[in-house]
Amino acid sequence: MAFLEVQDLQVYFPIKGGIFNRTVDHIKAVDGVSFEMEQGKTYGLVGESGSGKSTTGRAIIGLEDITSGKILFDGKDITDKKTKNKAFRKDVQMIFQDPYSSLNPRKRVLDIVAEPLRNFEKLSKQEERKRVQELLDIVNVSPDSIFKYPHEFSGGQRQRIGVARAIALKPKLIIADEPVSALDVSVQAQVLNFLKEIQSELNLTYLFISHDLGIVKHMCDNISIMYKGRYVEQGSTADIFENPQHIYTKRLIAAIPDIDPKNREKQFHNRQKVLEEYTQSYNDFFDQDGLAFQLKSISDTHRVALPQKG
């Protein structure tokens, strides 16, 4: 039994219109996504902005309404918002993209980190403060700063405070929605390595949402590529990077910058080639609406949205 199982998830946003403001159409933000996750692993979800990757994560944790499909967590059905009970809230946490808006500017660090503790555990003031200081210690933020406000910290520090808040309840699954994309590159590596560290310490499972394949390669065990609400390719990190099958994946991989200047010429030609292939076979890989086809297994771990005609 998988730790987290998502079956044919659909999240549609209504488009209102007409005289009575009825729903006239839908935006299919997530359109039939299925995947499974194992405990202790990191699962990457990659796509361009608007591909539905964040919506998938937000739907799992309950920030978006699910149109249809099923989500099983630890074997329990948690699809409906009402079934997302206290235990689920405690076990699944989220790290947000923007460390500037994800911390309430009017709250002290103590209040921010203690928010989940106050919701789930009845601690005395002393115990609470001790726990917060321990958590800040884990994320390498000075425990003396509990009475400071978020604006007194740098972006990287804030994101780590956000992490401290997310791990306060010792969750099993953390949904990290672009956790480093708002940070300076120099700080990104620091936060990523730190996320890896606490993963092994606390046996965390990550759903790692990102648009940056380089970061995903560094972080994840399994990767899914999303495009316009559908999966185009799904597999282990090795499958995706060493044996990409879908032209969209190929193009994304070709776009990863190479820092070695000697390879510049080679990279450029490679990209040209991939682009040519992309334009030529676009109609083979996508249907008339520009959407990907159904996934097909090509190995035990590797599934690709290959053309129907095969």
Partner: protein
């Protein structure tokens, strides 16, 4: 745009229905009913009961409501027990005065607001603009009834330039030119009083609208093309800023209705506002309730009118 207008019209219908229900409930809560005004208290209670039955006053509330609405749709607002006459007739007499007062007020409002707003916006941050802004600032904080009292005291009593009460000089023959002139003359001071206070929001709006428009790209383009300053203002800025003002018209009705109550009281001007105050004090509730219904409907219509005008001149609001 048509969609917006149709949707806006559809909202108006339930608004008016709910308003009528509220007024009906108010009427039910008020002591006495349609009959208590008509009859002599010394009449035999059995006969009264018979009358009540005949007039449908013992029916369940919803049937009474339907009867009442049915009457109103045919122009029957019931009887005034003070004046012993149909409410419709009574209100009709007063309505002429209030409509006249409103027209005078609106004329003065736009006569004052437009030049002040245009000047203030065009020459912003000059001494003249500061004076106008100062006026709107103080005007905003001044309650109309206090301002009107001072106006009446100064121009009515001390200087004697205007009549101090009534809507027409006594003894003038109705229908003559002198009669109508006298009517307008009586409406002048109250009208100007409301206008001077009511203009401030329009002036403020116009000013900021012009200052905004001034910095828009198409104005800069017009200037760059060599259009003269006067032409830029007349052809581009004023036209763009004045259109939204047109939409204010409907909303002014709300302010106007509230304003007339105070002003009619202060100037003893026999309009609908004063009639409302009198009928409430004299417990002539059928009159008072009819007036609430009329004023409410006028406000709903005003808001409807403004929203429609605005949707025509300003595409931004259609999205909502």
């Amino acid at each position: 745009m048509w969609k917006f207008i149709v949707r806006r019209l559809l909202i108006t219908i339930p608004q008016i229905i709910i308003l009528s229900i509220i007024v009906f409930i108010l009427a039910q809560m008020m002591p006495g009913d349609a009959l208590s005004g008509l009859i002599d208290p010394s009449i035999d209670p059995a006969a009264v009961e018979q009358q009540r039955e005949r007039l449908g006053l013992n029916n369940p509330w919803y049937i009474q409501y339907v009867d009442w609405v049915g009457g109103i749709l045919q122009g029957d607002f019931g009887q005034s027990f003070r004046f012993k006459m149909p409410v419709t007739e009574l209100i009709g007499q007063r309505m002429v005065n209030t409509v006249l007062l409103s027209v005078v007020t609106l004329i003065f409002t736009y006569l004052i607001a437009l030049p002040l707003g245009l000047i203030s916006g065009r020459f912003n941050d000059t001494l003249l603009d500061q004076a106008i802004t100062g006026y709107t600032y103080i005007g905003f904080a001044t309650p109309l009834f206090i301002f009107s009292l001072f106006m009446l005291w100064i121009f009515g009593y001390n200087l004697g330039w205007f009549p101090t009460s009534g809507s027409v000089a006594p003894g003038t023959e109705p229908g003559t030119i002198a009669y109508w002139l006298s009517k307008v003359y009586h409406a002048l001071l109250p009208g100007i009083s409301i206008a001077l206070i009511q203009v401030v929001s329009t002036v403020q709006y116009l000013r900021s609208e012009i200052i905004d428009t001034k910095q828009k790209d198409f104005i800069i383009t017009a200037r760059a093309k060599g259009a003269g300053e006067q032409r830029v203002y007349n052809k581009h800025i004023f036209r763009n800023s004045l259109l939204p003002i047109a939409a204010f018209f409907g909303w002014e009705i709300t302010t106007l209705i509230t304003g007339t109550v105070f002003v009619e009281k202060i100037f003893s001007y026999p309009g609908m506002g004063l009639l409302f105050l009198e009928s409430i004090t004299q417990r002539d509730f059928s009159v008072a309730n009819s007036l609430v219904l009329l004023f409410g409907t006028a406000q709903i219509m005003g808001a409807l009118l403004s929203d429609i005008i605005l949707s025509i001149v300003d595409p931004r609001i259609r999205i909502k």
